[in-house]
């Protein structure tokens, strides 16, 4: 018996988790661009120069040195606008997704753990909420509250909390049936303490995965609202407004549309992949 028990314990070597590191690298690039935008952007994102309108990217004929990704119809530098656009995209996604996550997850945890009337109230609220068409709801909300980043963040949080509430409620219900919840009770834990210190750590990987997904969704929603001009003013550089603007000139100045679109695509993809990667990484059983 003794030799079985004292046998040295080895942790299995973990292979490099690409689902974790690839998205992290891209998000780090975008985050660095956002943080240090004034230092790395080659031009003022708002500076117009009608003499330099619709210049192609640096690798094509007719390009101007310094405008790496070309210019748009008002002669504004595409790369600089994309870098400043990252600021708005990340700011909105961080604040909106975190707010959505905290609000929705709390309701989901309460509904799933306590059951009974708290569950009935929260679940019915989710049902009613989900019956609204989300885009219409967002447009309506922004129309009422006025355009601006605050309205965009509020719209995202008010629409998408149901996603967290539903998923986390289901996950909490599964965990609440586990024996370790009963053993916490046997060990004298209060109900609220059991929820926070026993169940929450087991639901946290799902919450983080959803949070990452939500950050991606927030980037998209911000871009959509910018696209339809319901975000901040169209002068301000956002990926969505760049795409909207590039749409008009796609046949002769495709770069105005394509580069922000690729950035948006990669960022959203990175966030949702990162969610899965983190979930795997923090799962002690699979680690």
């Amino acid at each position: 018996m003794a030799d079985v028990l004292t046998k040295p314990f080895r942790r299995r070597a973990t292979p490099m988790n690409l689902r974790l590191w690839l998205p992290l690298v891209w998000i780090a690039v975008v985050a660095a661009a956002a943080l240090f935008a004034p230092f790395i952007a080659p031009h003022d994102p708002l500076a117009q120069d009608l003499m330099l309108e619709r210049l192609p990217p640096a690798f094509m004929d007719g390009s101007e040195p310094g405008h790496w990704l070309g210019t748009d119809s008002l002669g504004r530098d595409v790369l600089s606008r994309m870098i400043y656009g990252a600021r708005i995209a990340l700011f909105v996604s961080l604040i909106a997704a975190t707010a959505t996550c905290i609000f929705g997850s709390t309701l989901g945890l309460i509904a799933g753990f306590y059951g009974g009337w708290p569950d009935r109230i929260i679940s019915r609220l989710v049902d009613i909420w989900m019956a609204f068409p989300p885009v219409l709801f967002a447009v309506l909300l922004v129309a009422v509250m006025g355009t601006g980043l605050g309205s965009v963040i509020a719209a995202i949080a008010l629409i998408d909390w149901t996603r967290f509430a539903r998923v986390i409620r289901a996950e909490t219900m599964v965990q609440a049936r586990m024996d370790y919840v009963d053993s916490a009770r046997i060990g004298g834990a209060r109900r609220a303490a059991t929820l926070v210190s026993e169940i929450l750590p087991n639901v946290l990987p799902s919450i983080i995965a959803l949070l990452m997904l939500e950050m991606g969704i927030a980037v998209i929603v911000e871009a959509i609202l910018s696209f339809v001009n319901l975000s901040i003013s169209s002068d301000d550089p956002t990926w969505g407004s760049m795409i909207a603007e590039g749409r008009g000139s796609i046949h002769f100045a495709w770069w105005v549309l394509l580069f922000p679109l690729i950035t948006l695509f990669l960022t959203v993809l990175s966030f949702s992949t990162l969610g899965e990667g983190l979930k795997q990484h923090f799962d002690p059983v699979h680690k």
């Binding site: 004292t6 009963d182 053993s183 004298g188």
Partner: protein
């Protein structure tokens, strides 16, 4: 008293005195469209004394209500009616707040050690958290001391449950229960998920600890051979009614009910069938 069975199963004073205990669950499968669901009676008036400082086996087929009965003893379930006297106090009607100070004395070891140990907590935290709640230490040294009592080395304190084997996990479950120095431990089918050699080790360990610490244990099992090995007394449940009870040897030697007889017959014995032996002899 609707059931005339004598509750006393030994001369030792009782830690638990259960009188006319009833429990039923709603049968949602047969719920009519309107009105309440019919109820399934799980425990039909159980009266029983659990003697102090002894190990009492509770045995029965699946569906006999033995686990349900055990969960009432540690008040994970509420009885419909009847008394559950723990050291003279009726704990059957207390609410959770009133129960909390008593829970230190009413510990439980679970059947499935994987799901009863929080997968996100280290072994040291699993053992010390209840100790901290009851102000009974809770340092790393306490965790290591508790691990030592169940024969696990100190470095296990820093491991997660999934890094342990089934037998080791069950030892952690035992360590958590005894760390509070309770007066009563419910052991619910604690070896049914383990392989035979781990079973023997865990049973021996529990028997030794019970003797050393003077614990009162209710040991639930469907396996009479395990009961015979470990317990002082045995209670046989069938469909929520006690059909046999008494000191292990008495019940095993002279079973009163057919249920006990059939459970006894199910014990695999190392005896050799005489006909088969005679046949082999003739060759």
């Amino acid at each position: 008293m609707t059931h005339p069975i004598q509750p006393a199963i030994s001369d030792v004073p009782a830690l638990f005195s259960i009188r006319n205990l009833h429990l039923s669950f709603p049968d949602r499968a047969h719920k009519p469209l309107l009105g309440p669901a019919p109820r399934i009676e799980v425990l039909k008036g159980i009266s029983l004394d659990i003697p102090k400082g002894q190990i009492t086996g509770i045995v029965g087929e699946s569906g006999s209500g033995k686990s349900t009965f055990g969960r009432i003893l540690v008040r994970l379930l509420d009885p419909d009616s009847g008394q559950v006297l723990f050291d003279g106090q009726d704990i059957g009607s207390l609410n959770e707040t009133e129960l909390r100070p008593l829970r230190r004395d009413l510990q439980m070891i679970f059947q499935d050690p994987m799901s009863s140990l929080n997968p996100r907590h280290k072994v040291s935290r699993i053992i010390t958290q209840p100790m901290k709640r009851y102000g009974r230490g809770g340092t790393r040294a306490d965790a290591i001391a508790a691990l030592g009592k169940v024969g696990l080395p100190p470095e296990f304190a820093e491991r997660y449950p999934h890094e342990l084997s089934g037998g080791q996990r069950q030892r952690v479950g035992i360590a958590r229960a005894i760390a509070l120095e309770p007066r009563f431990i419910l052991a619910d089918e604690i070896v049914s998920g383990l392989d035979v050699s781990s079973q023997a080790q865990v049973l021996t360990l529990l028997g030794d600890l019970a003797r050393d610490m003077g614990l009162t244990i209710a040991f639930i099992s469907h396996d009479l051979s395990v009961i015979q090995y470990l317990c002082d007394n045995v209670v046989v449940l069938h469909h929520g009614v006690i059909v046999d009870q008494g000191p292990v040897q008495t019940v095993f030697d002279a079973p009163q009910s057919n249920i006990t007889k059939s459970l006894l017959a199910a014990i695999p014995t190392p005896e050799i069938d005489e006909d088969w032996w005679a046949e082999t002899e003739s060759f």
